[in-house]
């Protein structure tokens, strides 16, 4: 199989995408079933050719065919096979093809799954998805083609190889996970556009995308958490979130998507918020495309110019196109979107949801503003002002507290209107526990933000627990069941609801972890063998320092003995200083890398970085960070996944 076939497959896919859109648009006009069948098959054909192209590129990476520019840039003979495959999404053109690949997987599933369902909706769903595919096919065919031959008049003997920072299991699975999330929102977006085109705005279409939305949301969440985990494990600055433009790019669609996940519940149950849901899904999808643009175009990372890549203008045009077309169609359908029901009371579950939605959107706007602040300031004032984490924290910490509080308040409000009696009954226990916690935390002498955060965590946990308790009590009173049976039946009959509560618990645990950041301690020092230094109540003694050569790098390995204040042994840490490509004759091409070592407990992490080595004097430069409660961020992540899986688990009767 030659690389040329890959290029041809992409050409074919592009041609098919145009034909799909044309055929199905004609079908929606004249209703000839033969056209629908052809359009349907054309759509499957696009995906088939994309699969073929992706398969060919992966194969070229595995056999290390350096005649392809992409293979030569992102792979090398020494690269382990697993990372040869992950090189598929390491570079620009490959990752765009990979985006397209995932989109094609989703499109195929949607097309086949709904072959006989939603006959009215499907044509426009396919048209929308094929249009998105068309955009990425334009990019991979004409702008950055992954099948370009190497531009060299000699035979390329070995490729550049994959950056060592990316030679890490987390980093191999983080981009695909994130992409599965980003791309996943194309399907709900397609259904939304289709519902608009068909003037079908009943809650039924929402039902058919609920699960898709949750799957995409789950992948996006996991992708973001994995990204943080990777940064924490590999980059050595001791944190997991830096409000970096690329991180923000994934966080913004997450915020609107989270709002959407909540507000579709209202449309499903009450047939309200139709316009708002349309706005949210359009924004989410646009932000997913925009996020791909931010990560791929180099707009934010290039220091001196904004036009580092030809992709920028094309992506921005597409983003603009999506917004104009979607909101244009929505505007013409405003009459259909008018909801038959209205909000009745401020203290109702409905308005709680609406308020939570607004806060999510506000947070998204704040992040958007901060991310693009350098661009705005340069455009308006001519000076490029960069914005750092303190800015984002100042704005987002209070918003985060409001969201956390709403997580607790929302479930306690009754539909339509919460009576005074209900209000008092539902809120007494959670508010009391929050207040008692707050008093205890103040007495311990914690700072204001920490007190607020921890007390809110207690409050939300209390509300979730009361929700479970009230549900169980209602069942045991009615059906005479044991507590365990009541719990399992209750959860399995209301999966999205109780799964959602479990997700809320996960979020609470993550907030506990975030709050731990307030207590971080950090120190940098140098040690010879036998010397020691102290950080945050721990003693670090350098016991050994030795060199070691391994297949793809050379390492200086340290052996640090950690003891606590009382002289009790805690652990041994072995951070390493590595040089990758150490056999390369050109010293500029060898790449140093600090491999850190972490001793992690529920209480705190001891994080060690071997930042430099002085060979002549046998001195190691060590950076130690003691980061309390970080573990809870990851534990919260697991709980979040668990809760979402409960909500997603299919019911027998559907």
């Amino acid at each position: 199989m030659t690389p040329i076939a890959g290029g041809v497959a992409l050409n074919m896919a592009f041609g098919f995408s145009i034909l799909t859109v044309l055929t199905l648009i004609i079908y929606t006009r004249n209703g000839d079933q033969r056209l629908y069948l052809t359009g349907h098959r054309l759509a499957l054909g696009i995906s088939f050719f994309v699969f073929l192209a992706t398969f060919i590129l992966s194969y070229q990476l595995i056999i290390s065919n350096f005649d392809l520019d992409y293979v030569a840039r992102y792979s090398s003979l020494e690269t382990p096979t697993m990372y040869k495959i992950s090189a598929l999404w390491a570079g620009q053109s490959g990752s765009l093809l990979f985006w397209l690949f995932i989109l094609s997987v989703y499109t195929t599933i949607t097309t086949i799954q709904n072959q006989n369902k939603h006959n009215r909706l499907m044509p426009w769903v396919i048209i929308t998805l094929a249009s998105v595919q068309m955009f990425f096919l334009v990019l991979t065919n004409f702008v950055t083609n992954p099948f370009m031959p190497t531009e060299a008049d000699f035979v390329v003997a070995n490729g550049n190889g994959l950056n060592p920072l990316l030679q890490n299991v987390t980093m191999a699975i983080h981009p695909p996970t994130l992409y599965l999330g980003y791309v996943g929102f194309s399907v709900p977006f397609g259904f939304a556009i289709s519902a608009l085109m068909n003037r079908d705005t009943s809650p039924l279409w929402i039902q058919s995308i609920r699960r898709w939305t949750l799957v995409a949301w789950l992948f996006l969440s996991v992708g973001i958490i994995l990204g943080g985990w990777w940064a924490y494990q590999e980059l050595g600055w001791g944190g997991y979130w830096a409000w970096d433009p690329v991180e923000n790019a994934s966080f913004m669609p997450w915020l609107t998507a989270t709002a959407f996940v909540h507000s579709i519940i209202i449309q499903e149950k009450k047939d309200m918020l139709r316009v708002w849901n349309m706005v949210l899904i359009i924004l989410t999808f646009t932000l997913c495309i925009f996020g791909t643009f931010l990560t791929r175009s180099g707009v934010m990372s290039s220091v001196h110019s904004f036009t580092a890549s030809s992709l920028g203008p094309i992506f921005l045009t597409f983003v603009f196109f999506i917004l104009v077309v979607s909101f244009g169609v929505m505007y013409t359908r405003m009459n259909d979107l008018r909801s038959p029901r209205k909000m009745e009371s401020f203290s109702s579950r409905e308005s709680g949801f609406l308020f939570n939605n607004m806060v999510f959107v506000v947070m998204c706007f704040a992040v958007f503003w901060g991310t693009l602040f350098p661009v705005f300031s340069e455009a308006v004032r001519g000076t490029k002002i960069t914005v750092g984490p303190p800015f984002f924290n100042q704005i987002n910490v209070p918003i985060g507290f409001i969201l956390l509080a709403l997580t607790g308040i929302g479930p306690l409000l009754a539909w339509r209107k919460t009576g005074k009696k209900n209000l008092i009954r539902n809120f007494t226990f959670p508010i009391l526990s929050g207040l008692i916690a707050a008093i205890i935390f103040i007495l311990i002498g914690l700072e204001a933000n920490v007190v607020i955060s921890f007390s809110l965590c207690v409050f939300v946990t209390a509300t979730v627990l009361t929700e479970f308790a009230r549900g169980i009590r209602a069942r045991t009173n009615k059906f005479d069941e044991s507590i365990i049976t009541a719990l399992t039946r209750m959860v399995s009959k209301n999966r999205s609801r109780y799964g959602g509560y479990v997700v809320h618990l996960g979020i609470v645990l993550m907030f506990i972890g975030f709050t731990g950041h307030a207590f971080d301690k950090e120190k940098e020092f140098s040690l010879k063998v036998g010397e020691n230094d102290h950080v945050a109540g721990y003693e670090f003694e350098l016991i050994r320092l030795f060199e070691s050569e391994r297949p793809n790098y050379y390492a200086w390995v340290s052996d640090l003995r950690v003891t606590d204040d009382n002289g009790n042994f805690v652990t041994n840490l072995h951070p390493e200083k590595r040089v990758y490509f150490h056999r390369n004759p050109d010293p500029n091409r060898r790449q140093p890398h600090s491999e850190l070592d972490i001793h992690s407990t529920l209480n705190k992490d001891i994080y060690s970085v071997f930042s430099a080595v002085d060979n002549e004097n046998g001195v190691a430069f060590i950076k130690i960070m003691v980061n309390p409660l970080v573990r809870w961020v990851w534990i919260g992540g697991y709980i979040l996944v668990f809760g979402t899986v409960i909500a997603l688990w299919p019911r027998k009767d559907s």
Binding site: M1, A5, V8, A9, M12, F16, L19, N30, G31, D32, Q33, R34, L35, L37, T38, R41, L42, G45, F48, F49, L52, N116, K117, H118, N119, R120, L204, Q207, K269, R349, A414, W415, R416, K417, G419, N422, R425, R470, G471, A474, R475, N477, K478, M490, K493, N494, D653, S654
Partner: protein, 92 residues
């Protein structure tokens, strides 16, 4: 042999999909298919309303909804579901 191998692939991978896609166009006219709400969609709708009723009952048991609202909404949903059932094809 190389010739057959290379071009065989091309035939299978590039020509067959085209034939597959064009084939429906040569079918006799299938006519226009009118799709009001088909049975499947209606059954699904019925199921959804039943679930809403169950959930409403649970909300009521938990005290999240007052008695008047509960009865009103329940009546509404019951009416809706009977409307859906009457639309279902009478064969079963």
């Amino acid at each position: 042999m190389d010739f057959v191998r290379d071009y065989g692939f091309i035939l299978i991978l590039f020509i067959l999909p085209v034939i597959f896609v064009l084939q429906p166009l040569f079918l006799p006219n299938l006519g226009k298919q009118e799709n009001p709400m088909d049975d499947k969609a209606l059954k699904r709708k019925k199921l959804l309303i039943y679930r809403q009723i169950k959930e409403l009952e649970m909300e009521f048991d938990m005290g999240n909804i007052n008695e008047a609202d509960y009865h009103a909404t329940r009546k509404e949903l019951k009416q809706e579901v009977s409307k859906v059932i009457s639309q279902l094809t009478p064969k079963n």
